[in-house]
Amino acid sequence: MLVIRDLEKIYKGTTKGVSDISLHVEKGDIYAFIGHNGAGKTTLLKAITGIHEFDKGTVLIDGLDITKEPEEVKRRIAYVPDNPDIYEYMTGIQYLNFIADVFGISKADREARIAEYAGRFEITDSLGDLVSGYSHGMKQKLVLISALLHEPKLLIMDEPFVGLDPKAAFLLKEIMRSMTDAGCAIFFSTHVLDVAEKLCNKVAIIKEGHLVTSGLMSEVVKDQSSLESIFMETVDNKE
């Protein structure tokens, strides 16, 4: 579903960014992407979603190259940013309707899906309010709903659990599992290592812009160790 080959993105005038990144996310994968602050997680996520241009490498999503067919690729994916920065002058329902318009979702489908997800995330009552009045968690729920509206084949999320209440976090995990059961793939960054360990079948660890570990969770976390101890060992290793 997602193939990243030798990707490099260095910010101009700096040495910061990511390089030599190669990853393969397959259908049905829930792939965790972990690393310390500033390691390059968001940079990589933005590069593969077409938000940032990158200097080298290839990103294929569902067999399509993000640099050659960006619109087609973006129709198949959804991106949830780390900060739910959305149009605050719109009401929640106006924003969801805007996203539904962009993806060309039929009237019946959008109504059914918004009703379903807004009900499950318990924000139906607030959809008529301006987004500017939403709490961080409510904005996050709204962004998650907007990401699910067009039933993406690949869901890319940057710290999706930040700001969510326990019930919404539980619900998101349920949705993630049911999506991958249906053949979708999920690639997301997180600092919540317990969740990553229990929820994901694959994991990648990034340090200072380079992948240091990636593969099946069962292979990365062996025997009696935990993802937390593996992560601490990996990032503390000065080489």
Partner: protein, 550 residues
């Protein structure tokens, strides 16, 4: 087409803040927005009335044919000026770049939708200018069916070309800012150049001998006696007709231009429409090609340097707060460019005074049928630019989501507010000093006049700064998405601009007063303004900051 309509809808949904007005549940916000809406409606009515009145006067003086020449050009000029001021911010936005670039939309429809939003701004200007003037012209000249049928197409066509041209200014600015490292400085410099350029252009047009009439000479006969109203009207009409004929002879296109809109040569309108649409399409294409890339490069970039712990300096609370204010202020190109224009214009005004002298400057602005005393009005005239836009009128609102930091720290209200006042005064001080120095060595006035030249602007600067903070405390706005909402469009800023009139009214009054009572009038005005400043300062210091932004 679908993408274009979707994006255009999202651009227009909150046009003039209407969507927020419709959905806001905050009663004070609704009240504020209602008041602003009333002000806009009032200004709309005043503008329409002014245009209609001026058109009626043209007809009365027998030069009605100037209407289809002048007003379409005026509508285009206003659309261009609004476009230039808004182009960069409207077309290239950093804030929603990531959201839009993560969606399956090409940048071309986004560019087209944003251009269309600018077009709507121009369209409103065209309606205000064309509808009243053409109605007066059509009725007074008994215009034919062609003229009446052309009004709506003319209104729709007129803003297209200026919007496309203004967009090119936006493209140039964005491309330039995207390339340089000091983006805030570049944005400020470009904004200053645009405003000063526009004022210079307007000054040049007003001062042009081709269009300027000597009204002073018209109101008196050769013996110096005053003429009757009818005689005066006849003279004005005669001189206006002569001026117009001179203009038509000098620039034949003016006459042709007029015939396009008067219904005599409607094919010209078709040419204008074709050229305008072609220009708009080319502009949309050029913007669309690099929209997201340029928008991404407009965000300030910070160089990463490995920090090494060094000895830190300690500051008093007030100094730390002033430094914080300076950091906040200089981090925003929009904030700086919007508030630095006034002081820059004060220096420009001082230089212009130095070059031309006060008497010549007044003559260039336009001769009025009264005796003028520009030196008496000079101190107040110099105060006007300083009052235009203060930092304090948006310094509380500019805290936005960071307001909790100030509120949660153990700082006295006095320190917080004094720091905001002090920073604004420190910012204006160099401009005041330069303007004063320029005038000190160039303008020859008496001792008393020299004293007023020093004192009056100083008193007005302090007054405007204190008034700005007072208004912002009365009308704070912490929830905003775009800085422009607080820096350019907030109620506090709009009301703060009114302080200009406190300097403009004495300027106009003193221009016409004999020199004798001028000192007395100046002293009284200075005393009143100083007293108002002290009163406002006391009111400010009694503000309960903890209740703000709840």
């Amino acid at each position: 087409m679908n993408s274009f309509l979707t994006i255009w809808k999202s651009e227009m949904v909150n046009y003039a803040g209407l969507n927020v007005y419709r959905h806001t549940k905050d009663p004070s916000d609704r009240k504020r927005r209602t008041a602003l809406l009333c002000v806009f409606v009032f200004l709309f009515v005043v503008a329409v009335g002014y245009i209609a009145g001026a058109s009626f006067a043209f007809e009365e003086f027998g030069i009605g044919r100037v209407i289809p020449m002048l007003y379409p050009a005026l509508a285009m000029m206003i659309a261009f000026m609004i476009g230039v001021l808004k182009a960069r911010g409207n077309l290239y936005r950093v804030r929603d770049r990531e959201l839009l670039s993560s969606l399956p939309i090409r940048s071309m429809p986004v560019a087209a939708a944003r251009l269309m939003k600018m077009y709507v701004d121009g369209l409103i200007a065209a309606v205000i200018v064309i509808v009243p003037s053409f109605l007066v012209y059509g009725i007074a000249e008994h215009a034919g069916a062609t003229f009446w049928l052309m009004i709506v197409p003319a209104i729709l066509i007129l803003p297209i070309l200026p919007v496309a041209l203004a967009a090119w200014v936006g493209i140039a600015f964005a491309a330039l800012i995207a390339r340089v490292r000091h983006k805030v400085l570049a944005e400020v410099l470009l904004a200053v150049i645009v405003v000063v350029g526009m004022m210079a252009l307007s000054f040049a047009v007003t001062g042009s001998s081709t269009v300027n009439m000597n009204l002073g000479a018209i109101t008196q006969d050769q013996g110096g006696d005053k003429l009757s109203q009818k005689e005066m009207n006849d003279r004005v009409a005669k001189q206006a007709a002569e001026t117009l004929e001179k203009l038509e002879a000098k620039t034949p296109f003016v006459k042709t231009w007029g015939s396009w809109f008067s219904g005599k040569k409607p094919a010209g309108l078709l040419i204008l429409a074709t050229v305008s649409l072609a220009a708009l399409l080319i502009t949309a294409f050029v913007i669309g090609r690099n929209l997201f890339a340029i928008s991404g490069r407009l965000a300030p970039v910070t160089m990463h340097r490995d920090y090494k712990m060094t000895a830190l300096q300690s500051h008093s609370v007030l100094e730390a707060l002033v430094r914080k204010e300076a950091g906040r202020y200089f981090s925003s190109g929009l904030y700086v460019s919007n508030t630095i224009i006034g002081p820059v214009l004060a220096v420009v005004l001082a230089v212009v005074m130095a070059v031309f002298g006060p008497e010549e400057l007044i003559r260039k602005i336009g001769n009025l049928p009264v005796a003028m005393h520009p030196t008496a009005a000079l101190p107040f005239l110099l105060s006007v630019p300083f009052c235009m836009m203060t930092v304090t009128s948006s310094s509380i609102s500019a805290e936005g989501k960071n307001w909790w930091i100030t509120k949660s720290l153990p700082i006295a209200t006095g320190d917080i507010l004094n720091a905001k006042l002090l920073f604004n005064l420190l910012l204006f001080a160099p401009f005041y000093l330069v303007a004063e120095l320029v005038l000190l060595f160039t303008v020859r006035v008496g001792v008393m006049q020299r004293l007023w030249l020093l004192v009056v602007p100083l008193v007005y600067i302090v007054f405007a700064v204190v008034l700005g903070l007072f208004l912002n405390l009365r009308f704070p706005k912490f929830k905003w998405e775009n800085e422009a909402e607080v820096v350019k469009q907030s109620a506090a800023v709009a009301l703060g601009i009114l302080s200009v009139f406190t300097a403009l009214i004495p300027t106009a009054g003193l221009l016409m007063l004999p020199d004798g009572p001028a000192d007395l009038v100046t002293a009284v005005v200075v005393a009143v303004v100083a007293a108002a400043t002290v009163l406002l300062y006391h009111r400010i210091m009694n503000t309960d900051l903890l209740r703000l932004g709840d």
